[in-house]
């Protein structure tokens, strides 16, 4: 008995190109109020194309139906729990969308004179200040466009600082539980990646860690709480040892939803970190993005922050480009400003009550854990913070893997958890409910997980062939990769 979800008709819809018919129109432009110009003579006939071959021709009503129908094929936070571990899929307040669409902000051009940009600049300055307060850091750049971009920026800052000391060093330590963007980033910044092992409790293996310290170590990229949802209890010791080694400490702040208002990275020795505004600060994921990955640093790294920086003089904000030690821009303009508006709106809404949101996030994760524990293997049993990672060990004996259980959750009306990450947990089931879930929804999830455990035991085929209730059945990803079809082409 699935009490969360029922099947209902969902409209089919072809590709835009299959809706197209020559002469249909979805647009109209105001009449041109200046003399027409002949493209061929203005641009040179060799530069003017005949047409955009294959481009669609559809009417307005077909366009809205097209995208509305397609939308109904998606799951969404506004439809229910989205327990993707590490992704912090929380409620995206709608007032934030309204704020980002305020005319003067939405139509702001990045090159308009500073005197006509004070509103936007104040928003950025205030967000920087609040993020510094929440993280316990000294200065913030908002420029990076996402978490990975923040990592890249942060490691460039570390590198610049080390270079200023005369030696950029060669390697970055990365715990084996870390997110893929961490090693990829280290590499893009010219560093070798050295893995740090985890203990059987899922924490940084201090012995292994100590053994890796040497003068070529530029620093560490550490995630705290780590991707198992566990607080690195030796974090002050780790940062101390690195600093003693002349290394710097980067924190992947993707999991700040576990700490905001509770503990500040700046207070436990972190030198530089990024935040994912699209996680902790509730800006919508939008099917993959946009996000924003502000980077917060301690004083010692501040001189290297990207240009420009906003400075306040009396009541006026201006951009400072005169930053001789800066790593320079990592992006054109100032970053994903529209995302800043949403994140600031979120912070303003919680204000100093942010701590309560954090505690509810931890409560939800622990409540789910308690409810599911009887049915699935919990490889690491220390108290969870904002997320919990189970493994499919019990079910795998029956051939049922984390990916299968995930697909079966769909039949129960839920988006699956994160599968197969972190890599140190074989068959990982990584669950992060966030604070914006109520007890009723969590209870249904627990019920579903229990039911699936039973099915995996008694009727594994049911789970292995899931989902059964969706408009497309399990999708063949292998063929997709083997013979990539990555664009529509006219038949024949």
């Amino acid at each position: 008995m699935v009490s969360k979800v029922t099947q209902h008709p969902s409209q089919n819809e072809p590709l835009l190109f299959e809706r197209s018919s020559p002469g249909k129109k979805g647009y109209q432009l105001p009449p041109l109020d200046v003399p027409a110009v002949d493209p061929a003579s203005a641009l040179g006939s060799e530069n003017v194309r005949d047409e955009v071959a294959g481009f669609p021709e559809v009417s307005e009503v077909e366009t809205i139906r097209h995208f509305t129908r397609l939308s109904t094929w998606n799951y969404a936070i506004d439809l229910g729990l989205y327990p993707l571990g590490s992704c912090t899929m929380k409620y995206n307040p709608r007032v934030n969308e309204a704020a980002a669409r305020v005319d003067g902000l939405a139509w702001g051009h990045p090159y308009q004179p500073e005197s006509l940009a004070q509103g936007a600049m104040e928003i950025m300055a205030l967000l920087e200040r609040y993020l510094a307060e929440i993280t316990g850091m000294d200065a913030v750049t908002l420029q990076p466009a996402a978490g990975a971009h923040g990592e890249f920026t942060g490691i460039l800052l570390m590198r610049a600082c080390l270079e200023s000391r005369g030696d950029a060093r060669a390697s970055i330590l990365v715990p084996d539980s870390s997110h893929g963007t961490n090693p990829a980033t280290a590499r893009m910044c010219g560093y070798e990646v050295v893995n740090v092992k985890s203990t059987s409790r899922g924490l940084v293996d201090m012995e292994h860690f100590r053994g890796l310290l040497n003068p070529s170590v530029a620093g560490i990229m550490i995630t705290n709480p780590n991707t198992l949802g566990l607080f690195e209890e030796n974090i002050t010791e780790i940062t101390r040892l690195l600093h003693e080694n002349g290394s710097l400490v980067y924190m992947d702040g993707a999991n700040m939803n576990a700490l905001a208002g509770i503990s500040r990275p700046g207070d436990f020795g972190i030198d530089v970190m990024h935040l994912n505004l699209h996680k902790t600060f509730s800006t919508p994921h939008g099917g993959g993005g946009p996000g924003a990955g502000p980077v917060a640093v301690k004083r010692l790294l501040e001189p290297y922050l990207p240009t420009p920086r906003i400075v306040q003089e009396d009541d006026t904000y201006r951009y400072d480009y005169n930053l001789p030690e800066s790593i320079g821009r990592v992006r054109a303009f100032y970053g994903n400003f529209g995302v800043f508006v949403r994140a600031l709106a979120y912070i303003l809404a919680h204000g100093n009550g942010l701590r309560n949101a954090t505690l509810d996030a931890l409560l939800n994760a622990n409540y789910l854990r308690a409810g599911i524990e009887a049915h699935y293997t919990l490889p690491y049993t220390d108290r969870s913070l904002h997320e919990v990672v189970f493994s499919d060990a019990i079910q795998a004996k029956n051939g049922v893997k984390t990916g299968d259980i995930a697909k079966r959750l769909i039949d129960y009306g839920f988006h699956p958890y994160t599968t197969s990450f972190p890599l140190i947990v074989p068959g990982a089931m990584m669950i992060e409910p966030t604070e914006t879930e109520g007890k009723q929804e969590l209870d249904l999830f627990i019920e579903a997980m229990a039911a699936i455990a039973k099915e995996a035991d008694e009727n594994p085929e049911l789970v292995l062939n899931a989902p059964h209730s969706t408009r497309v059945r399990r999708v063949d990803e292998v063929t997709a990769a083997r013979k990539p079809i990555v664009r529509w082409e006219p038949a024949g």
Binding site: G26, L29, V34, P35, A42, V48, R49, V52, G54, F55, P56, E57, I64, F67, L70, N74, Y75, A76, D78, V95, A98, V102, D103, G104, H109, P113, Q118, G119, A145, A148, H179, G180, A184, I235, T236, S263, D267, G286, G287, G288, P290, A332, G338, A349, N352, L363, N366, R383, L385, E435, G438, K439, P467, T470, D476, E477, A480, P484, I485, R487
Partner: protein, 447 residues
């Protein structure tokens, strides 16, 4: 608090299920030295009405009511109402990356359509699902070219957007990929093919040009491609004004196209979020950074879409990935997708033609600095750009981008842009002010 869907009695019940008696118990295991005792120094939480008032007041401290001739990588274009309608659908707005294909077909199909239309526009064979923006797409394209050619040097046109060039240099710096520039013809504003040729050798991975370039001038992509290819280098063609693709020959001779789609229904939004893209030939698909959606079938043999070729990506390949990108700009790319659907084949052409006409109307009578053919932006020589802009502000007009900051040799120039939104009266006012200023300058010089 309205975002927290729990009553206190529910909290207690749930704590009990966790074997705890208070919320503080959830963090009692943290080392005491990391637990912050003070409250965050933030104001008390605000109502949505106060929040809206705050941002409306900030919006009022911007440029409402001003006409604007700013371009330079961010363009004022009409935004079809449908773009916001579509991206406001909860199912697009509040969904994650479509890893779970069976409940993400909506997002997946829109991305597949996006990829297709980008190919149609650019003459490429495959496009990714989006990059952060145009500026960050360029270093990704450069790195891609380096991987493909296994060469280690980049040549970039000085006519490319100066901030893009800066991002390029800063981004590839530590990957053994030095970036050198080649110049533009001081008369035409086009790439200086001779300079390019003189700098090309068999260590060059890619030649990067932008067309229309930062000065709005249409480049000879074919000639640049020929030169690059002759030396075994790839040509990367960059665009910042996507509307131009409605009229201009697609850069099909390029090997990689990197661009910015802001012009396609994406608000200027003070510089972001925008949507970048990288497109290329099928031969290079495995070197593309970012997500790609592919067509496949489901268990029943029906057409379905899914993310594909993810072995290029960081979550599988970690330090060996083609890029560290994870979160991209999906929702913004969706706006661009809706835009392309709304305008369609005829509309995009008409739109581009209107831009062309407006910019040429604006340029008429002004002193153009370059002779090259331009789309909707052009450089004018105007004495002191700051002084002219000051005079224009008095008429509630934001003038052009002073170029001295980016090109010292163009300190007496500004970059002006006109789009379909530029109104004739505004343009006439701008021209009048320009004319009266140059007269008064003339008058003064006569004294």
């Amino acid at each position: 608090m309205r975002y927290l869907p729990k009553s206190d009695s529910e909290r207690l019940e749930m704590l009990k299920a966790c074997g705890l008696s208070s919320l503080n118990g959830l963090v009692a295991h943290l080392p005491p030295e990391v637990l912050r005792q003070q409250d965050l120094e933030l104001p008390p939480g605000k109502s949505e009405y106060e929040i809206l008032d705050y941002f409306r007041a900030r919006g009022d401290a911007m440029a409402n009511g001003y006409a604007s001739f700013l371009g330079g990588g961010v363009y004022r274009h009409y935004r079809p109402v449908l773009a916001d309608v579509v991206v406001s659908r909860s199912e697009f707005l509040t969904s994650y990356t479509p890893y779970q294909a069976e409940i993400s077909q909506g997002t997946l199909m829109t991305i597949f359509e996006f990829q297709t239309m980008i190919c149609q526009l650019t003459g490429m064979e495959v496009a990714n699902a989006s990059m952060y923006d145009g500026s960050t797409a360029v270093p990704e394209a450069a790195l891609m070219a380096a991987r493909i050619t296994r060469r280690g040097r980049i040549l970039v046109a000085r006519g490319m957007h100066p901030e893009y060039r800066e991002v390029l240099t800063n981004s590839v710096k530590h990957q053994d990929l030095p970036v050198a520039e080649f110049g533009f013809d001081p008369a035409s504003g086009e790439i200086d093919l001779a300079d390019l040729e003189s700098k090309l050798d068999d260590t060059v991975a890619a030649v990067i040009i932008q067309s229309p370039n930062f000065f709005g001038i249409v480049e000879n992509t074919k000639a640049a491609a020929d030169l690059a290819h002759r030396h075994g280098a790839l040509l990367v063609s960059v665009f910042t004004e996507a509307v131009a693709l409605g009229l201009l020959e697609p850069p099909a001779e390029a090997d990689i196209v990197a661009g910015e789609l802001q012009s396609f229904a994406i608000s200027p939004s003070y510089g972001g979020p925008f949507a970048g893209v990288v497109a290329t030939k099928m031969a290079h698909i495995r070197q593309l950074p970012g997500r790609i959606v592919g067509q496949t079938t489901d268990l029943n043999g029906n057409r379905a879409f899914c993310l594909t070729l993810s072995t290029r990506e960081q979550h599988i390949r970690r330090e060996k990935a083609t890029s560290n990108i994870c979160t991209n700009q999906a929702l913004i790319a969706l706006m661009a997708t809706v835009f392309m659907a709304v305008y369609g084949k005829e509309g995009l052409r008409e739109l581009a033609t209107q831009n062309l006409a407006k910019a040429h109307y604006l340029a008429e009578g002004l002193e153009r600095r370059f002779s090259g053919r331009f789309f909707n932006e052009f450089v004018v020589r105007c004495g002191s750009p700051d002084a002219l802009n000051g005079a224009l502000l008095g008429e509630k007009i934001i003038g052009g981008i002073p170029l001295g900051r980016f090109y010292p040799e163009l300190a007496d120039c500004m970059l002006l842009c006109a789009t379909e939104m530029s109104r004739r009266e505004e343009m006439d006012t701008l021209k009048r002010i320009c004319a009266s200023r140059s007269e008064s300058v003339l008058a003064k010089s006569r004294v």
